[in-house]
Structure formats: structure tokens, C-alpha cells
């Protein structure tokens, strides 16, 4: 009798232990990725593209990697850094996410940086493009681009291709200033001259007076950086003011001719030369498949934000494969360093020292292909690192 009671007691204990183990195993079976993106507000197209691309990737590759089920939790921060911080806190504390990712604008990425450091979880930046971001936390890795990458290249290209006098028009915030400074440094070093420099306010209703000033300065080209959403308005007013007829070209990082909006900008945009990481017209087979699948699923053309999101989730998958499903943040970030893969944009890798992206930068010209406007690539600068790090 005593024996039997003892047996049942052991059995209960074993059952309880089993239950605990089972729940623990279930919790460990999922990997949560907290995606903080601007889904509303002026930057909403960025958020939409990244979310779409991640959905597409998970449809194609399945939602399990290294025996773990990947779960995406999306939070909208409307590109307001305060909201980003709250969202990151909620995701880390309540949802116990293993990664935070997304970040439409630089201030948002910076707001989350101290949280990533404290919680020791990787922050995968899929959009924001200021150089300093990856220096703000050893847990930040970036799959988008930095403005230094494209701006230095277009600066070098311009002086070599007969553009001597340039007027600049850039949005007055961190990425705009990055773009301006790196362009100027390389353009002036090559013998070019900046004849006019205008910084426009970020929330700028009317480009007209600035463009008039550009026109009167009679440069060979204008160097433009405006956030992706404003490119359409800029190009429209550029044409309205007759700058295209005055022979003033537009050059710049590719944000102004984002694939997302390019096709609606009208023929004035034809001939615009930009340096950028991605064009929907990139001639690789992988990109053709990517564009076709994206168009089929969402009805629009993928832009550089979409491809950054696609590569971001790929990096998360690869890191998990490398750690064999271990979700320790420090191991994951180590696993991400030095990753190399073929992306729809071309070959890319993660610089093991800066955790920033190394990628090809293409010089492209807007042309009409089958009745649609595309950025057609005609020159490639291979494996460009970010040149904008302050700690060298």
C-alpha cells in the first residue's frame, strides 16, 4: 500500500515535470521577430514595402528555420521616435521577442538602439540610412544602405562624366546632411564645384522658390536628396519650372527615383542619373523572379525598401541556421557578422567589423522599358563599404 502510494506520487511528479518541459519546449520552439515600421503617416510606403517583402519571403521559404517557428509581430510607430521606443519596450518586455527589426527613419533606429544593447537582442535595420546608426549599439546590424555609399559614388561619377558645376538641394535632416557632405567631399576632391547649396525643410510644401534659385545658378546638374515619398513632387515641379529644358540634369542617391513611385513621375524624369543599391530592372534571374513574385502578390513594383526587408529577414533566418536555433542575442549577432549571400539587388555581405552592409552600388539612368519608367543600371561599383563611420 505504502509502495503503491509512493509510486503514484512519483508518477505525478514525473507528469508535472513532463508538462513543464513540454511548455518550455513550446516556448522555445518559436522565434519572435518584432517588426517596428511606419505603417501610417508620410513614411507609410516604406513600412508597407518591408512588411510585404517579409511576408513574401516567409511564403517562399516557409516559416520554420532550424526547427523553430518564426513569428512576426508588427507594430506601427508612424516614424515617430517616441513611439518607436514604446513599441520596442513592449515587444522586448511583454512579447519577449528575439529580434527587433524594421525602422523606417534614422531617429527611430536610434531611439531603439539603447534598448537593443540593454536587452542584448539584435536590432536589424531595414530602412534607415544614416551612417552613425550601427555605431550606437553593438547589437545593430543593417541590411538597407547608407547614404555615404551612394553619395560618394555619384560624386565620383559626376566629375568623371563632364559635370563641373552642381547645385545641391537636400532635405534638412540627418540623412540629407550625410548625402550632401559625402557628395561634396568626393565631388570637390575630383575638381567639381558646388555653386549653390540649399537645404529644404523636411515638411516642405512647395519646392518652387528653391528650384527657381537652382535654375538661376545655371549649374550643369542638381544633386538632390529628398526622402522617397517626396521624389514625385520634386520631379513634377522640376519639370514645371522648365529646368529640364534649361539642360539642368538631376543626379543623386536613388531615393528620388524610388521604384515605388517612379512610374507615376512622368517623362520629365527621363535621363535622371542616380547611384543606388537596387533597381527593379536589375538584370539577374533572381531579381526577375523576385519582382514577378512581388508583383503577383501585392500588385505593385518592389522598391529598395522591399529588397532591404527581404534581405533583413533572410539574415535573421541565416543567423538562426548558424546558431542551430539558439536564440541567445549575442550568439545571433556574432552569427550575422560576415554573412554573405546573393540578394535580388546583387551580391551583398555584412561587414564583420561595422555590422553594416557591403554591397554593389549601381549607376542608373531612368529610361522607358516596355512603356514603363525604370532605373536602368549601366555601371557597377563592386562591394562598396560604408565610408561614413566616425570611428575609423
Amino acid at each position: 500500500m505504502f509502495g503503491r502510494r509512493r509510486l503514484s506520487w512519483v508518477a505525478t511528479l514525473a507528469a508535472v515535470a513532463g508538462l513543464v518541459a513540454a511548455t518550455a519546449a513550446r516556448a522555445e520552439d518559436t522565434v519572435k521577430v518584432g517588426l517596428i515600421l511606419p505603417m501610417t503617416g508620410g513614411q507609410a510606403s516604406t513600412g508597407k514595402q518591408i512588411e510585404n517583402a517579409i511576408k513574401l519571403y516567409m511564403q517562399q521559404k516557409g516559416d520554420t528555420v532550424a526547427g523553430k517557428k518564426v513569428e512576426i509581430v508588427v507594430k506601427d510607430d508612424a516614424a515617430i521616435p517616441d513611439k518607436t521606443k514604446t513599441a520596442a519596450q513592449e515587444l522586448i518586455v511583454n512579447d519577449k521577442v528575439n529580434f527587433i527589426a524594421g525602422f523606417g527613419v534614422t531617429p527611430a533606429a536610434l531611439a531603439a538602439a539603447p534598448l537593443a544593447t540593454q536587452a542584448k537582442i539584435p536590432e536589424v535595420v531595414m530602412a534607415a540610412g544614416t551612417s552613425i546608426i550601427t555605431e550606437r549599439s553593438p547589437y545593430i546590424v543593417r541590411t538597407s544602405f547608407t547614404l555615404a555609399q551612394s553619395s560618394t559614388i555619384i560624386g565620383d561619377w559626376a566629375v568623371k562624366n563632364g559635370i563641373k558645376k552642381v547645385a545641391t538641394l537636400t532635405s534638412d535632416y540627418a540623412p540629407g546632411n550625410d548625402a550632401l557632405n559625402f557628395f561634396k567631399e568626393h565631388f570637390v576632391a575630383g575638381g567639381g564645384e558646388v555653386v549653390e547649396e540649399v537645404k529644404v525643410p523636411l515638411a516642405n510644401p512647395d519646392f518652387a522658390p528653391f528650384l527657381q534659385r537652382m535654375k538661376d545658378a545655371k549649374p550643369d546638374a542638381i544633386f538632390v536628396f529628398v526622402p522617397a515619398g517626396q521624389g514625385g513632387n520634386f520631379m513634377k515641379q522640376y519639370a514645371e519650372r522648365g529646368l529640364d529644358k534649361a539642360g539642368i540634369k538631376v543626379i543623386g542617391p536613388g531615393d528620388v527615383t524610388d521604384d515605388d513611385l517612379l512610374n507615376n513621375m512622368g517623362d520629365a524624369v527621363l535621363g535622371t542619373v542616380t547611384a543606388h543599391l537596387y533597381s527593379a530592372a536589375h538584370p539577374s534571374q533572381m531579381n526577375k523572379d523576385f519582382v514577378a513574385a512581388y508583383k503577383k502578390a501585392f500588385g505593385t513594383r518592389p522598391g529598395f525598401m522591399a529588397v532591404s526587408g527581404y534581405d533583413g529577414i533572410h539574415l535573421i533566418y541565416e543567423a538562426l541556421k548558424k546558431t542551430n536555433g539558439d536564440t541567445d542575442g549575442t550568439k545571433l549577432i556574432e552569427a550575422m557578422k560576415g554573412q554573405k549571400w546573393e540578394s535580388p539587388r546583387g551580391p551583398i555581405s555584412i561587414d564583420p567589423e561595422t555590422r553594416d552592409i557591403v554591397q554593389n552600388i549601381y549607376i542608373r539612368k531612368v529610361e522607358k522599358v516596355d512603356g514603363e519608367l525604370y532605373n536602368v543600371e549601366f555601371q557597377t561599383f563592386e562591394a562598396v563599404k560604408d565610408l561614413g563611420k566616425t570611428k575609423k
Binding site: A203, N204, D206, P209
Partner: protein, 289 residues
């Protein structure tokens, strides 16, 4: 020299646009003494209706413009009869809270229906580009704005000053009780005026899509500009806001052209200086009610 004239032209066009957008607010705020912060929402409604008609239904731009006016006015009259009417006698704080709420609702609604990206209206080729007049670059679209808005201003001034409706409106504003005693249907006059102001905003919204850009945040982004026009111009007549709009339009454009570093602040600096000099606005009533 030609640069000055081109800037002047751009400034006038910008100012005229501000006037059409804001003069409805001058009427409701100045004449009816009602603080309507949702004014920009009517402008946005007009803009989006025009955009949908032109881009999706294939209407010609000039046919869609009057419809932007009519539909914004129709929305205005419906809201006036159902909602605004109850707030005429309430305190200004209640009116502000109510209308700012309405603004946020309109922002969210448009964001939901149309998406948050910027909308452009396809213009006929005749309105695109620029031509040279004695070396001065004249934008075709901006010229059209000046013509339309100029005609509207003259018409408005005539209606207010010369017609029977104008005198009824002025009477209803000055002393509603005496006016209704004289057989003037005051609520009807107010409703009509309100709707007309909304219609003008709608037209302004449709015209401004090309220049200011049209997105769901339009009512919030430009609310400050409308309020500046009304405070600087004073709200006792149409002339005040008109001159204020021109002044601010020209000042803004010239400021951005000549001192681009200071550009965005010029308009605010002007407002502060004018309001220190004349706290009731350029044409404010000195002995306000």
C-alpha cells in the same frame, strides 16, 4: 530683374491659393464667430474628390474643379445642419475640441480609404510647363491659379458688398436677433455661408494638390497657414485676409529664394512682427465685440 518678377509671380500665385483655401475660415471665424479648425478637412475632401474624378473616372480637369467645389459645399451643408449648428452658441473651447476631433477623424478616414501616399491630379498638357514673357518665366498652372482666384475674389467682394444676400449676411452677423426680427432667416443665411466657405476650401484643395501636395495630413499640415492668414489679415472683411495671403505668399517665396537658410521661418517672423505692430491683424476691428 527677371528673377524678381518671377518670384513675384510665384508669390502672388501662392498667396492667391492661400486666400482661396483660407477665406472660408475667415468667413466662419470672422463673420459667424465660429472657430472651425476642421476647415482644412473640407479642402482635402475637395482635393481627393477632384483626384478620384480625374485619375480614376477620366473626367477633364476643368470639369472636376467645379465638382470639387460643389461636393465640398455639400459635405459642408450636411455637417452644418447635423453637427455644427449645435455648437454656434457654445464656448470657443468646445468648438475647438469638436472641430479638431473632426479633423483627426477625416485624416484617419482618408488614410484608410485612399492610403497615405501623396496624390497627384493628372493635368491637361495645356497647364504643364512654363513660358517666357519678356524673359520672365511664367508657370502655366500658376497663371491659371491667379486668374481663377482673382476672379473669385472680385466676385466675393461684389456679393458681400452689393447684393441683397450680402447685406443680409452682414446684418445677421452684426445682430442676429434684430436681423431675425426683420424677417431674415438667420440659420439659413449661416448655413449657406458656411457651405460656400467649405466649397471654396474644396476648390482650393483641388488647386493646391499640384503645388502643396495632397495627402491625408493636409488638414493638419496647413491649418497653421490658414490661421496665420486669418490672424494677420484680421477677420472682419474679405480684403484683410486677401492682402494678408498675398503678403505671406510673396514673403514666403522671396524668403526661400533670397535667404534659403532662413526660408521656412520668414512666414512666422512676418506674422510675429505684424501682430506686435497691430495685435488685431492688418484690418482688424479696433473695438472688437
Amino acid at each position: 530683374m527677371t528673377a524678381i518678377l518671377t518670384n513675384l509671380f510665384d508669390g502672388v500665385a501662392y498667396g492667391m491659393l492661400l486666400f482661396v483655401l483660407a477665406c472660408g475660415l475667415a468667413v466662419t471665424l470672422g463673420l459667424m464667430n465660429f472657430v472651425n479648425l476642421a476647415h482644412g478637412a473640407f479642402a482635402m475632401a475637395g482635393g481627393y474628390i477632384c483626384a478620384v474624378l480625374v485619375n480614376q473616372q477620366g473626367w477633364p480637369f476643368f470639369a472636376a474643379l467645379p465638382l470639387a467645389f460643389v461636393s465640398a459645399a455639400a459635405i459642408g451643408i450636411v455637417l452644418e445642419r447635423t453637427l455644427y449648428r449645435h455648437l454656434y452658441t457654445r464656448s470657443h473651447l468646445d468648438q475647438v475640441l469638436f472641430t479638431i476631433g473632426l479633423t483627426f477623424m477625416s485624416v484617419a478616414a482618408v488614410d484608410y480609404i485612399q492610403g497615405s501616399s501623396r496624390v497627384f491630379i493628372n493635368l491637361p498638357a495645356a497647364l504643364q510647363g512654363q513660358f517666357d514673357l519678356f524673359g520672365v518665366g511664367i508657370g502655366r498652372y500658376r497663371l491659371m491659379i491667379i486668374i481663377i482666384c482673382g476672379l473669385l475674389t472680385i466676385a466675393l467682394q461684389l456679393v458681400l458688398a452689393k447684393t441683397r444676400f450680402g447685406s443680409r449676411l452682414r446684418a445677421a452677423v452684426d445682430d442676429p436677433r434684430a436681423a431675425s426680427g426683420l424677417g431674415i432667416n438667420v440659420p439659413q443665411v449661416f448655413a449657406f455661408t458656411f457651405a460656400f466657405g467649405c466649397g471654396l476650401a474644396g476648390l482650393g484643395g483641388a488647386l493646391s494638390a499640384e503645388i502643396l501636395g495632397l495627402d491625408p495630413y493636409f488638414p493638419l499640415k496647413f491649418m497653421i497657414y490658414f490661421l496665420i492668414v486669418v490672424t494677420v489679415g484680421g477677420s472682419s472683411s474679405i480684403t484683410g485676409p486677401f492682402l494678408a495671403s498675398l503678403l505671406l505668399g510673396i514673403g514666403d517665396v522671396a524668403g526661400k529664394y533670397y535667404v534659403p537658410k532662413m526660408g521656412p521661418f520668414v512666414i512666422y517672423t512676418m506674422m510675429i512682427v505684424i501682430l506686435i505692430w497691430r495685435p488685431n491683424g492688418l484690418f482688424g476691428r479696433t473695438a472688437a465685440r
